[in-house]
């Protein structure tokens, strides 16, 4: 009997080793798996390649992970934000490698990985600095850039509800990269606000079918504070 929700954060994350390539869901803080990131920080692995839309905000979550020096390279579309000082400093000090990808190409390359495609011709970025040195092709009157899939060893994502087979539903704009990252990683770890019984998620409305998810970790809500502090931000409060 398969139970993908039977382990705690520490246990689940312990599979991640130095040098891993890790997708992290979220657009800004919405959908960012804060507790999984904290768990990753506690794990202390190094030399990571991180794929995320941004490069962290403030001093918590992804920014905190960067601050520990654990990240060798980040692939993202929008690292520069008003509160991205952690990344800014590392970048200016030459301590982190940046691969800047237009947001839609980021999404599309992640999708290509999940779909098993070898490469795609995308119109985005043609003729720009971000396509320099890349192969291009004129197809049916339009110009395209050849882009390769972005795969990952792990995807850490945040969903709203999950069951023991790994089926997931999300909440509002926290969905963003979750479903496509789940498809592109060898091992997808989803933190959820609620674990539900098999059959509680309507098969018509499962957003991420369990085939794309290897672990479901329930995060215990411990406060009713809003926003980024919605849930306790220490990994040790996690239960499964």
């Amino acid at each position: 009997m398969i139970n993908k929700a039977d382990k705690g954060i520490t246990d689940v994350l312990s599979q991640i080793k130095d040098g891993a390539t890790i997708m992290i869901g979220g657009f800004g803080t919405a959908g960012q798996p804060a507790e999984l990131i904290d768990g990753l920080i506690n794990l202390g692995v190094k030399d990571l390649v991180i794929i995320n839309n941004n490069a962290g905000n403030g001093d918590h979550g992804l920014a905190k992970l960067l601050q520990t020096g654990a990240v060798r390279k980040i692939i993202c579309s929008f690292p520069r934000q008003s509160d991205s000082w952690v990344f800014d400093e590392l970048y200016h000090a030459g301590k982190i490698e940046l691969e800047l990808v237009p947001q839609g190409n980021l999404a599309c390359r992640i999708q290509a990985a999940g779909m098993g495609l070898g490469a795609v011709y995308t119109p985005t970025g043609f003729g720009t600095l971000l396509a320099e040195g890349k192969e291009t092709r004129h197809i049916d009157g339009k110009d395209y850039v050849l882009e390769y899939p972005i795969k990952a060893d792990f995807a850490l994502i945040k969903a709203n509800k999950g069951d023991r087979w790994g089926n997931l539903v999300y909440r509002k704009s926290a969905r963003n990269f979750g479903p496509i990252m789940a498809m592109a990683a060898d091992i997808t770890i989803a933190q959820v606000s609620e674990t539900v019984d098999l059959g509680e998620l309507d098969p018509e409305y499962v957003i991420t079918p369990g085939i794309f998810v290897q672990h479901v970790v329930q995060i215990q809500p411990t406060s009713t504070e809003p926003a980024s502090d919605e849930y306790a931000s220490t990994a040790t409060t996690a239960t499964a």
């Binding site: 657009f27 800004g28 803080t29 919405a30 959908g31 839309n53 579309s77 929008f78 690292p79 520069r80 934000q81 991205s84 990344f87 800014d88 970048y91 200016h92 940046l98 800047l100 990808v101 237009p102 947001q103 839609g104 190409n105 999404a107 599309c108 992640i110 999708q111 995308t122 119109p123 985005t124 970025g125 043609f126 003729g127 720009t128 600095l129 971000l130 110009d143 999300y170 909440r171 509002k172 704009s173 926290a174 969905r175 963003n176 990269f177 979750g178 479903p179 496509i180 957003i207 809003p226 926003a227 980024s228 919605e230």
Partner: protein, 219 residues
């Protein structure tokens, strides 16, 4: 910037004017910053569907104080609400809407627009700046119509509408229309065609504030 006889449009006035050109039933992406203001001026009797890169269609105005939901934000990371008939989807589908030509109109800010419709709005090319692009390049190539909303000249008085870009390009030959605080310009095969100007501005004055050649079609 010095002028005597005419009044430049405020940011709200540019937004209000641009809003008039958005037809009933249009699927529209409003870029972060100035273009976002257009939402306030969309008439109630039209169904205009606002799209946000992070997976929202038909979102509505900001929530009432205290009703903010950190998981209901737009691409500018502002709190929004959902209209009845709205939907959520993942980033793949969201950018399919953009890249696949399903968005009727996107309105973007600009550092520069060139005479041929080239757009620069993602990087000034400054050596020490951290590059960041977001969804700008996707919108530029993907939307059926690309509108630009911008001040006509920079704070330093430099023209933003130019013969050729000096800043790094976001999208080639992508801009269809430019709304500035001075005028409206259609980007056409014949060149930049001015269709409206603020009162008391002469075409020659406008040309003087523009480093690309303009064509007067205001009368």
């Amino acid at each position: 910037m010095s002028h005597t006889s005419y009044t430049v449009l405020t940011r709200d006035q540019i937004a209000e004017r641009a809003a008039q050109d958005i037809p009933d039933g249009a699927y529209v992406n409003l870029g972060i910053g100035l273009p976002t203001k257009i939402a306030q001026y969309l008439p109630d009797d039209k169904d205009v569907f606002l799209h946000s890169e992070n997976g929202l269609l038909a979102f509505g105005p900001p929530p009432a104080k205290g009703e903010e939901d950190p998981e209901l934000i737009n691409a500018g990371k502002e709190y929004v609400t959902m209209l009845d008939g709205g939907s959520f989807f993942h980033h793949g589908d969201s950018f399919a809407m953009m890249r696949g030509g399903h968005i009727d109109i996107c309105v973007l800010g600009a550092f520069q627009v060139a005479a041929n419709g080239d757009l620069a709005n993602w990087s000034t090319g400054a050596e020490d700046a951290i590059p960041a692009v977001g969804g700008a390049m996707d919108l530029a190539v993907g939307a059926k119509k690309v509108f630009v909303m911008t001040n006509h000249i920079t704070k330093e008085g430099e023209p933003k509408i130019v013969s050729e870009l000096s800043y790094p390009v976001t999208g080639k030959k992508c801009v269809d229309r430019i709304y500035t605080d001075l005028c409206i310009i259609d980007v056409t095969d014949k060149g930049l065609v001015v269709t409206e100007m603020v009162d008391d501005l002469s075409f020659d004055e406008l040309q003087g504030l523009t480093s690309a050649m303009l064509i007067d079609a205001t009368n």
